[in-house]
């Protein structure tokens, strides 16, 4: 990685704060109107638990995961918490190569799927996260670089968010709405995509 792990988490926190009202608005349409508030509270807590001089990627990700688990409040707490904790387990290598990052991504995806007992097509963050991972892995496995992998992953995640507009929610609070959830994009898929995009932007700049 080209920059400190702190800078990546900070970029995530900034993008969540910038999109706090937008995420809450999306959640108001099909859920309980707290996604933006919850995620912002989580990332604002997390950012106080790490600092710029931290070099141990695994340790930082662990603190981020535990911080989210105990401060987000909604289902995104255990889901995003698991994402970071699973990535932390894989990030114990001294050298975080692009292959290690791919494995972190995979462990995070598997962790979220298991925690939420969700699969693709249920109008959840998995609809953005799984295609993003697949696009990422395809680039890395065919010898491409991290920049290209991240760019393709963001594009796939954005397509995933669009896809969530076309399907009925069967998980979480939105499932109470049934067919009325069609036409609305999933807040969790959206926040995941924003976070992934912030990683790409931070890598680039």
């Amino acid at each position: 990685m080209n920059k400190s792990i702190y800078s990546y988490i900070k970029a995530m926190a900034d993008t969540i704060n910038e999109n706090k009202d937008f995420l809450t608005q999306l959640d108001a349409e099909i859920g309980d109107a707290d996604h933006g508030t919850n995620m912002a509270r989580g990332f604002n807590t997390v950012i106080t638990k790490i600092n710029e001089n931290d070099t141990d990627v695994s340790d930082v990700l662990k603190r981020v995961g535990m911080g989210l688990v105990s401060s987000v409040g909604g289902a995104s707490g255990p889901l995003y918490g698991t994402m970071f904790l699973k990535a932390s387990n894989v990030a114990k290598e001294a050298d975080i190569t692009q292959e290690v990052i791919m494995n972190m991504f995979k462990a995070a995806l598997d962790g979220v799927k298991e925690r939420g007992k969700a699969t693709r097509g249920e109008k959840t963050m998995i609809d953005a996260m799984e295609p993003a991972y697949e696009a990422f892995a395809e680039v890395i496995n065919s010898g491409g670089n991290l920049m290209q992998a991240l760019e393709n992953a963001v594009k796939a995640a954005e397509e995933g968010v669009e896809y969530t507009k076309t399907i009925i929610a069967t998980k979480g609070r939105a499932s109470y709405l049934g067919e009325r959830s069609i036409g609305h994009q999933d807040p969790g898929a959206t926040s995941f995509t924003l976070i992934l995009k912030s990683v790409l932007e931070n890598y680039k700049n």
């Binding site: 688990v69 105990s70 401060s71 409040g73 909604g74 707490g77 979480g172």
Partner: protein, 134 residues
């Protein structure tokens, strides 16, 4: 003694359920409220739940009654956190209505029931008939 932990998005709900259970299950029965967030806002906190489970265990296991959505996810996360820290407690989450299940299972625990029988009592509360409709 089986410990009982109440997980709700609202601390007022979990505190209130504990009060209701106490009326019948006695003051010595372990029933711990793990509702809401540290700062009092609505939500569930896996770390708070993990601490409550640890405090509720006397070696005979802990039964968790939870409301909905993230209460279940956060409880499952709490179980993983305890496991990752090598804290071995037998834990069951009851698939039961939180108020009725809590009362039924805390009485069972107070009467000396084991974790399985407390779980059964909680889950039977699902079929409890409140109205005799003709």
């Amino acid at each position: 003694m089986v410990g009982i932990v109440i997980v709700s998005h609202s601390n007022k709900i979990s505190d209130g359920i504990v009060d209701m259970c106490r009326e019948m299950a006695g003051k010595d029965q372990i029933i711990i409220s793990a509702g809401g967030m540290e700062d009092g806002s609505i939500g569930t906190d896996a770390v708070r739940i993990a601490n409550a489970i640890e405090n509720a265990d006397t070696g005979d296991g802990v039964l968790v009654l939870a409301d909905l959505g993230s209460a279940i996810l956060s409880t499952e996360m709490a179980m993983d956190i305890l496991n990752d820290n090598s804290i071995n407690i037998e834990i069951k989450i009851a698939d039961a209505p939180i108020v009725e299940g809590a009362i039924a299972s805390s009485i069972e625990a107070y009467l000396g029931g084991n974790l399985e029988s407390c779980l059964k009592k909680a889950e039977e509360a699902k079929n409890f008939i409140k109205l005799n409709k003709k």
